[in-house]
């Protein structure tokens, strides 16, 4: 365990009505039909991977886009991985995961490119959009959009519902945490440099964007600090972590200046799964040792979703 980062004392507390809040959000979402649509994309299809554009409906009836890739040669029931995007990243076409034998869905939650027709607070701004009201805060819908990606995978006959994984880094790492927590069908999760965890500690530990958006907001509106902290506690990945029961790996960079490693350690401590591993990379920043860690992730998913050991 990394010494300095692990010594950090997390100041976050969990609201008493945390579970009730999210149960209510899930109830609202479940009343909205998914209305999944899958459209072939011949331009992005290659000899080995078929690519589709996917659309489905989420909370507030926002239409969400995603990329869907599947290996041409596959079993009748194929394991699947949900890829969750970074804060500023344009959601990628996940051909690489399809080439490894998975059906892959790369989701663009509301406000991302291709999902911004009905909601577009912009970048910077997303992180503080309606941050004083948990019922309209940007990430309320953003989280649900991601979780509905699992629902879309489950709606596909070609996906093996017992072998679904989720992965992402940075914001994608945070979304991996909340998705694994809120969708029991997730059987394996790999979270890199998990953002959206320990917000209020993070803004003291680092002064780089995107967390700096919160400092900007509080500089202009210092009187709203209590309301901001109250809202963010409902969206903090650390408060979701005890719900995670699937095997999970987390990698962090000990010199990460975007997502402080202190918050990654605090998150890891709270993860409920007994099958959890932390991979701290000294000498690494926000990429969190990706070059070395990629092989760890491949082996992890191969073991849990493909049922075999992968070559490194």
């Amino acid at each position: 365990m990394p010494g300095t980062a692990a010594a950090h004392r997390c100041t976050l507390t969990k609201p008493d009505d945390f579970d009730a809040f999210w149960d209510d959000v899930l109830r609202q979402a479940s009343a909205i039909p998914l209305d999944g649509e899958i459209v072939p994309d011949p331009l992005r299809t290659s000899d080995d991977v078929e690519t589709f554009q996917v659309f489905y409906t989420s909370l507030d009836r926002v239409r969400v886009a995603a990329w869907y890739c599947r290996p041409r040669r596959r079993a009748a029931r194929t394991p699947a991985i949900l890829f969750t995007p970074g804060y500023q990243m344009d959601p990628p076409i996940p051909k690489d995961l399809a080439r490894k034998g998975y059906i892959a869905l790369s989701v663009a939650p509301r406000g991302k490119l291709r999902s911004l027709g009905q909601f577009n607070p912009g970048y910077p701004n997303l992180l503080t959009h309606n941050v004083v009201d948990r019922h309209t805060y940007a990430y309320r819908g953003f989280y649900v959009d991601t979780w509905r990606g699992v629902d879309f995978l489950l709606s596909r006959d070609e996906v093996d519902p017992a072998r679904i994984g989720v992965t992402g880094s940075s914001q994608g790492g945070g979304l991996t945490i909340t998705t694994a927590a809120m969708r029991r069908q997730v059987r394996a999760a790999s979270a890199g440099a998990p953002y959206l965890c320990g917000f209020m500690d993070a803004i003291e530990l680092t002064h780089t964007y995107p967390y700096e958006e919160i400092n900007d907001y509080l500089r202009l509106h210092p009187e709203r600090r209590g309301a901001v902290a109250e809202t963010l506690a409902y969206f903090d990945g650390i408060n979701f972590a005890d719900r995670i029961s699937c095997p999970i790996i987390v990698n962090i960079g000990l010199q990460d200046n975007v997502v402080p490693p202190e918050t990654g350690c605090a998150l890891f401590e709270r993860i409920g799964s007994r099958d959890k591993q932390l991979h701290p990379y000294d000498g690494h920043g926000h990429e969190a040792g990706r070059a070395r860690h990629a092989a760890v992730v491949d082996r992890f998913f191969a073991r849990h979703l493909l049922g075999r050991e992968a070559s490194a």
Partner: protein, 301 residues
Amino acid sequence: VTPEFDAYWRETLDELDRRPACPEIEAIPLRSTTFATLYGVRLTSVGPYRVFGYLSLPAGRGPFPAIYYAPKYQSVLEIIPQGTANLQRSRYVTFSLAGRGQRNSDSPYAAMFPGLLTDGIDDPASYVFRGIAADAVRGLEFLRSRPEVSPSRVVVVGNDLALIAAALAPGATHVVTTPALFHRTAEVAPRTQAYPLEEVNDYLRAFPHRAASVRRTLGLFDLTAFAPRVSATTLLLAGAPGSLLDGRALEPLRSALGGPVTLHDSEQSSYKDGVYAERWMAERCGIGDVEAILPEHWRAR
């Protein structure tokens, strides 16, 4: 460098010269601090097309060294790159520009990612990067026009557009460039399946009969052809040894650059590569206490 290359860029720059920038500058209090004020800037480029940028001016009396963050291949426009300490804005004037198609410069043209790299690629006249290169030049011109900027310390930072802007416009004293799109693209793209270069493979798979025109267009954007025009001191950031655009692959570019060059191989660590680039810029811009403007987790402990 072919006669077509010279003519193509001369015509592009002539068109830009005929188009006044008509800047609009507006303060953004939400992103302003005690040490820097942020402004939104709108400028006209070729087309005509209106593009947007973020200008940050340090508190105090200048002139200050300046960093120009040239347009990138991504939809989001950052004030300063993610992970850069906000305190960088206390020492440098910074200006980041969204090329046409990026957020804030996406009306009427909203780019797709992937999609931008091959938009109009079969015809040099309609290729979207002709306009984006002009946007990048316009941004550099604007930055140099600011009285707060020290003209002897103007660093252009980014991927291919950083080098292209420094080649096409006067005034860049330093360049920090990480080639990604336009280094021998026609030869390099078939050796990868990763985006953004995979866009070229997708395009040629769908339109194989356009291969010659694509190659012709890409030839007009090849970094090695721009390199002799770059007299600025350059930090060329290469991929890790063995990667697609590693130091060995970039050697023709390095040797073609017109000014002094430092080639740095990536250590596959955003921390180590980031510290190296920050120190490199600070040393050349006369900033003695770079440690004070590094992110907290990058500082020596």
